[in-house]
């Protein structure tokens, strides 16, 4: 399951038993972000604990304010990421979470490769393909990986978190994830690099029957449905690798320290 690759990059292969949907891809990324923020001491307590704490104090409490800022940053990234999966002419292949002063000098770099097909949530419903199972499997794999846990334990002062997206986008503008045409993920010594490869085992039934189950779609997704009705899943073509480029989220995520 774990293997060391070129220049110190550690590969973590994870075979999922459940198909990933656009929705669960987004959740996997955001949950990983929360986990890293806490593990790398960018936030004082686990994210969920902060969320609870925040409801128990005055709205003007400094920590509550900091948390609200953070959660709205995450929501922003999450919404934008989610919408990328639906965008016509746009194909997302990888997400990377970078922690460090700039995108070229991160201390930690975690790339997440999505499986070659992601089910479109337009036709697939959360209750049919829950994001809970893939998430559990991912977290368990990370806990079992000693190198990953070691990297989590290296202390790091307050710094920036960048969300990068590798996609093939035929649209002429990308206004939240900004194009970084020549960017490649860092490989220098001072960066701990991990690549999480999400795969699907063969027995996963891609052609599920959601479509017949769900008659009414969510309003906001109606627009693009017409001519895509019979697209069950998308699959990317390995011959057009060079068309995939990195894009950087405009929103930089910053944690906070606890004020006593």
């Amino acid at each position: 399951m774990f293997s060391r690759h070129k220049k110190g990059e550690m590969e973590i292969d994870i075979m999922l038993d459940e198909p990933l949907t656009n929705d669960s891809c987004t959740k996997v990324v955001i949950e990983l972000v929360k986990y890293i923020l806490y593990q790398k001491q960018q936030i004082p307590f686990a994210y969920e604990a902060l969320a609870r704490f925040q409801t128990s104090v005055k709205a003007t409490d400094r920590n509550a304010v900091s948390f609200k800022t953070l959660s709205s940053m995450l929501k922003d990234v999450s919404d934008q990421l989610f919408s990328q999966f639906f965008l016509k002419g746009c194909d997302v292949k990888e997400v990377a979470i970078l922690l460090g002063p700039t995108i070229l000098s991160p201390k930690l770099c975690i790339a997440i490769e999505f499986p070659s097909y992601i089910l479109n949530s337009k036709q697939h419903k959360e209750y049919q393909h829950s994001s809970r199972k893939p998430l559990l499997k991912l977290m368990r794999s990370l806990l079992e990986c000693d190198e990953f846990q070691e990297a989590m334990n290296i202390p790091l002062s307050m710094t920036n978190m960048f969300i990068m997206l590798k996609k093939n986008d035929g649209n002429s503008a990308s206004d939240f994830f900004l194009p970084k045409p020549q960017y490649i993920l860092p490989t220098q010594q001072s960066t701990s690099c991990f690549r999480i490869k999400l795969g699907q085992s063969d027995q996963v039934n891609i052609e599920c029957n959601c479509e017949s189950l769900v008659a009414v779609y969510h309003d906001s997704f109606k627009i693009q449905l017409e001519d895509e009705d019979n697209v069950q899943y998308r699959q990317y073509n390995s011959s057009n690798q060079s068309l995939y480029q990195w894009y950087q989220s405009k929103q930089i995520i910053k944690g906070f320290k606890f004020h006593t």
Binding site: P101, L104, S105, S157, S172, P179, Q182, Q189, S190
Partner: protein, 415 residues
């Protein structure tokens, strides 16, 4: 190729544009073919290209310049055009912090170039003769020699620039602007730049036993940045005389000897790092007399930045007034730039009246630093004007009073 004819066209691509550089270049060059001439050293905003949707949507701005002529216009036909296409990074400085005895010190600030924050800095610095172009050519030559691995035992060149001069003459700004400009002009050789400002004060405000280690740690960090050969790494040491100072005062036996170790460690590290082909070291100093640091002695270019001349002052004021008009604090009125004024032979008519008045004010302002000059319009408004939208001629009168006031204050301070 006739060198004089090179027209440098720097195209800042919009950050959200997904077009390739080739497509951008093609779009702009097609547009240029329909033009007869183009203005030099003037920012052409993409959104003002009303007949060209592609430029509006994909280009932030275009700046054309030539090595030999400043301002004015040049013919497009017959010129050799070189295009530089770049995008700005949006994020501001990242601080590089280090732990020293449970204290967190910010030892350096770090920018990715070309950066939004440094944008148009170069265009807004005004000096005489060719100071700016000379500095730029110096950097370009340095990088050319390095990349071709010219043997430095035969032809010697260092990679250190020293800008010195009185306070407020634009030394720090110039370092930033120069780094940004160099990255843009060498965008074919380097895909991007890194600008690292070393906070030397923090390095030895803690000069107990830890600081030597701190310097080493900082340079380990910098060395790992330098490994990336596609980046031009510019290291700024502002107010380098503080290092010389620390050395001197500890020779007198008044300071703990640790500080000398820090300074020496820093200088040795700098000496080592500048051997990398993609490194450039920028330093500034307020001291006009020689700084006794062997490292700085070896600087190839020691450029003095002084008080702006009348023409430079005119340019600075001109840019300030334009900004006041853009933000509608001043009513929009015609105001000549210096080359137009020259063209009209400085003769007074209704068109040049205000401009000539401004030239007179520029003469009066000689001896003020760039920093003070850039404050004058603000002071003028704060001290002398109550209405929110003034005419140019009224503003110029008020400006005169503000200039006199600032000069009086300056004299008081000196006596």
């Amino acid at each position: 190729m006739k060198e004089e004819n090179v027209l440098h066209v720097e195209i800042c691509q919009r950050v959200d544009s997904t077009w390739s550089r080739e497509t951008i270049e093609e779009t702009v060059s097609t547009e240029f073919k329909t033009w007869k001439e183009v203005s030099l050293d003037i920012i052409l905003h993409g959104k003002d290209f009303l007949n060209n949707i592609a430029i509006q949507n994909h280009v932030e701005s275009i700046i054309c310049s030539s090595n030999y002529i400043e301002k004015g216009k040049v013919k497009i036909e017959g010129a050799t055009i070189k295009y530089y296409i770049y995008r700005l990074t949006q994020e501001g400085a990242a601080t590089e912090t280090m732990n020293s005895n449970s204290d967190e010190l910010s030892v350096a600030s770090h920018w990715l170039l070309p950066a939004q924050e440094f944008h148009y800095m170069w265009e807004n610095l005004y000096y005489d003769c060719d100071i700016k172009n000379n500095l730029l050519h110096f950097v370009e030559t340095t990088m050319l020699f390095s990349s071709l691995a010219v043997n430095s035992n035969i032809i010697s060149w260092n990679k250190v620039v020293l800008l010195h001069g009185p306070p407020g003459t634009g030394k720090t700004s110039m370092c930033k602007a120069l780094a940004q400009k160099a990255v843009i002009r060498m965008i074919d050789r380097f895909t991007h730049g890194k600008f690292i400002e070393i906070n030397s004060h923090s390095l030895f405000s803690k000069w107990f036993s830890e600081s030597g280690k701190l310097v080493m740690k900082l340079f380990d960090e910098i060395k790992s940045l330098v490994q990336d050969e596609s980046a031009l790494v510019c290291i700024l040491i502002d107010e380098v005389e503080s290092l010389a100072h620390a050395r001197k005062s500890c020779n007198n036996g008044t300071e703990p000897s640790d500080s000398i170790r820090v300074v020496n460690a820093l200088l040795t590290q700098l000496d080592q790092i500048k051997r990398y082909p993609n490194v450039l070291i920028l330093t500034t100093s307020n001291m006009t007399e020689a700084i006794d640091l062997a490292f700085i002695d070896r600087a190839d270019i020691k450029q003095y930045l002084g008080y702006p001349s009348e023409v430079a002052i005119y340019n600075i004021y001109h840019s300030c007034l334009k900004e006041l008009m853009r933000t509608e604090i001043l009513k929009r009125e015609e105001i000549c730039d210096i080359s137009q004024l020259k063209l009209f032979g400085y003769t007074e008519d209704s068109n040049t009246k205000n401009s000539l008045k401004l030239l007179e004010l520029s003469r009066v302002s000689e001896g003020l630093t760039g920093r003070t000059l850039r404050k004058i319009p603000f002071l003028t408004h704060a001290l002398h004007l109550s209405t929110d939208k003034s005419t140019l001629s009224k503003f110029l009168k008020a400006m005169h009073s503000a200039i006199l006031k600032v000069q009086q204050e300056g004299e008081l301070q000196q006596s």
